[in-house]
């Protein structure tokens, strides 16, 4: 292996990237765009559930007070009041509201006379996940109101109600339960995987497509020199993207970073090496840029999106699918990133994930070089 040759290839590749506005855009704009889209667009938090209210007992102060519990909760947003079912049906059909609360006209009368007061909740179940959570919020509001009612009733008769269980929860690492904190580290992993694999897959198939490989393989350049030479510029781009993404995560999205930056860099080296090697492997398997970029998207974007635990928790998946996720390198990297960002984890708890990343990097790198050797030389 010769450093001069590696350097010649790297410099050439840098010039080509500089001159190709598309790959430059891919390398710089895409990460920022993905962070913004996922950071702002993809929120798993359910709040401000749009609600319509039909209060048939509006003359009673009691029902108005009851509704204040919803009005001043951040989880609901009462967008409309109505006085008929036709409107409610239409609003749920059109998606204008997520749910409807109907207070019957005897509501306050029943409550004051000690009878069970019915309350109707209609929820749009077409988004079952959100519907379950929204209904849960309503249930919690009602339960709290019931406890207040009982306390008042007992107090009126001179009794004090025994204290119910008083749960005090403390959420670690993400006290505000801000789903953005959970998503952003995953987006970073996805960006690096996609950019790395996509750019390298194009950079070698381009040499085939344009015929420049013919000249290159007539020179004494060796496969590892070519692979490493191609590697370096994209490695730099990958780290640049990581830097941009981390800075954006910290400043734009306010995600805290508790861990060690040194560890972040070290473990990212392995993840990036694996991802770049995967791109080269794809390149060696396809001689056109189009096929290569499609293969790269198929083997990086989709698995990283769906099978890495980025959005969908792995433990919720069927056993067989869970087994596949072990082969997705982003799975380990995301755990590491979340650990570094939110928990401030060190190697003592992340060594197994780190080991998998190292394994992935070495495996991909050696397969890529071997495949390249077979195909070309």
């Amino acid at each position: 292996m010769n450093f001069k040759r590696i350097w010649a290839i790297s410099s050439k590749e840098f010039i080509q990237i500089k001159r190709d506005p598309r790959s430059l855009a891919l390398a710089i704009v895409i990460p920022v765009l993905l962070l913004i889209i996922f950071g702002y667009g993809l929120s798993l938090d359910i709040d401000r559930v749009r609600t319509v209210v039909w209060n048939q007992d509006a003359s009673s102060e009691l029902t108005r007070n009851f509704l204040l519990n919803f009005k001043y909760s951040k989880y609901f947003k009462i967008t409309r009041y109505t006085d008929n079912y036709r409107d409610i049906e239409h609003m749920i059909d059109s998606g204008e509201v997520m749910m409807a609360l109907v207070i019957p006209k005897d509501f306050s009368h029943y409550l004051e006379s000690g009878k069970k007061a019915p309350l109707q909740l209609l929820v749009d179940g077409s988004d079952s996940n959100t519907a379950t959570i929204a209904a849960g919020y309503v249930r919690a509001v009602v339960a709290k109101y019931n406890v207040e009612l009982l306390t008042q009733a007992f107090a009126a008769h001179g009794y004090t109600l025994p204290k119910p269980v008083d749960m005090r929860s403390r959420i670690w690492f993400n006290p505000g339960l801000n789903s953005r904190w959970y998503i952003i580290p995953g987006v970073i992993a996805m960006i690096i995987m996609i950019i790395a694999a996509l750019l390298t897959s194009i950079c070698i198939s381009r040499e085939w497509e344009r015929g420049t490989m013919e000249q290159l393989i007539s020179t004494p350049v060796k496969p590892p020199e070519l692979v490493i030479g191609k590697f370096l510029p994209y490695f730099a781009i990958g780290f640049f993207d990581l830097f941009v993404a981390v800075v954006m995560a910290r400043t734009v999205f306010g995600v805290p970073f508790q861990g060690s930056y040194l560890l972040l860099i070290l473990l990212s080296v392995f993840f990036l090496t694996g991802a770049l090697s995967q791109g080269i492997l794809i390149s060696a398997s396809s001689k056109t840029q189009l096929l290569a970029s499609q293969l790269a998207t198929l083997t990086t974007f989709i698995p990283t999106m769906l099978l890495s635990g980025f959005i969908y928790p792995i433990f919720n998946m069927p056993q067989a699918v869970q087994a596949i996720t072990y082969l997705i390198p982003a799975r380990y990297y995301i755990v590491i990133l979340r650990g570094l960002f939110l928990k401030g984890n060190g190697m003592d708890v992340m060594w197994d994930e780190a080991l998998f990343l190292v394994l992935f990097a070495f495996l991909m790198f050696s397969i890529a070089i071997r495949k390249f050797k077979k195909k070309v030389f």
Partner: protein, 317 residues
């Protein structure tokens, strides 16, 4: 090295792609400093042979050496000592002329101290001074070919392989190319060049003619035109010669007739008899102002006649 004078030598070289035999049992030797022509129509197996010699692909069977190195086992060594210019332009379009030269300087590990000098040498040789900072994409075909030749010579190879260096190139650049080839050969560099322009082949010291992957002739241009050429050529000069093509071809002593410019070239086994037959035919038809002369076969005549012989032999089989 077994023999210092032999630059390239192959024995029973065969290359198959699936069922298709691209190169079939080829044998030849190229001496050091020779300009060796590899002639044949498109698809004859010229590029495949060159790629095997350059260590880009391995032969299916057969042996050979280039610069003393084995073409199967020492491909890497070969690559260090040869220059190769492929048929299709294969430098980087999105790099400037000078950046392309820089890149190959790095690939061939030319020491820093010598780089500048080598770069200037290549730019002078290819006469591309005016283009050095232009993107390669923006310069025309002929200049690209000059640059490609320059890059292939950057590391002072002892043997250089040029695969159709002059196809699609203007006549001035073509002449210039052959001038450079001659100069290289004078300096002791072996030049292995493929072409399908027979007029260019006259510039070679020796040549091989290849057709359907098989060698059909080998020798100096002179040998080709005399010893190897079995037929003789008569040139018939007459008004509206094209109208007489069929009639002259119909004569028993005439093998074939072809139009060369405004004249006829008549291929025959026996120039004397054919000349007489043509004379009789024309005079019987009342033609007066004509001339018949035996001419020396051009390489093109030789090649066409060899191909016809080959086709006839293979038709019979």
């Amino acid at each position: 090295m077994p023999n210092d004078n032999i630059a390239v030598s192959v024995q029973s070289l065969v290359k198959k792609f699936g069922d298709f035999t691209a190169v079939n049992n080829v044998n030849f030797e190229v001496k050091q400093g020779e300009v060796f022509g590899f002639l044949g129509p498109n698809g004859a197996g010229k590029s495949t042979t060159i790629r095997m010699l350059c260590g880009i692909i391995s032969p299916t069977s057969g042996t050979g050496t280039v610069g003393g190195y084995d073409i199967v086992r020492e491909q890497h060594k070969i690559k260090e000592h040869i220059g190769y210019m492929s048929q299709k332009f294969s430098l980087y379009d999105d790099l400037t002329v000078e950046e392309n030269i820089d890149f190959y300087s790095g690939i061939y590990k030319i020491p820093r101290a010598e780089r500048k000098e080598r770069t200037e040498e290549v730019i002078r040789l290819a006469d591309i001074e005016g283009f050095r900072n232009r993107l390669t994409r923006t310069i025309s075909g002929g200049w690209k070919q000059r640059l490609a030749l320059g890059c292939a010579l950057l590391h002072h190879p002892k043997i250089i392989f040029l695969d159709e260096p002059t196809s699609g190139v203007d006549p001035i650049t073509r002449a210039n190319f052959w001038k450079i080839i001659k100069e290289l050969s004078d300096k002791g560099v072996t030049v292995f060049v493929t072409t399908h322009y027979m007029d260019e082949a006259e510039n070679c010291n020796r040549m091989v003619m290849i057709y359907h992957g098989e060698m059909i002739a080998m020798g100096t241009p002179e040998q080709m035109k005399t010893e190897i050429m079995k037929n003789e050529i008569l040139e018939v000069v007459m008004p509206s010669a094209e109208n007489w093509l069929d009639k002259i071809s119909g004569l028993a002593s005439v093998k074939e007739t072809a139009l060369f410019g405004v004249n006829l070239h008549v291929v025959t086994h026996d120039a004397q008899k054919a000349g007489l037959d043509i004379k009789n035919l024309l005079e019987a038809e009342g033609i007066k102002n004509y001339s018949i002369a035996k001419i020396k076969a051009s390489l093109e005549d030789v090649f066409v006649s060899l191909i016809e012989t080959y086709d006839e032999e293979h038709k019979e089989k």
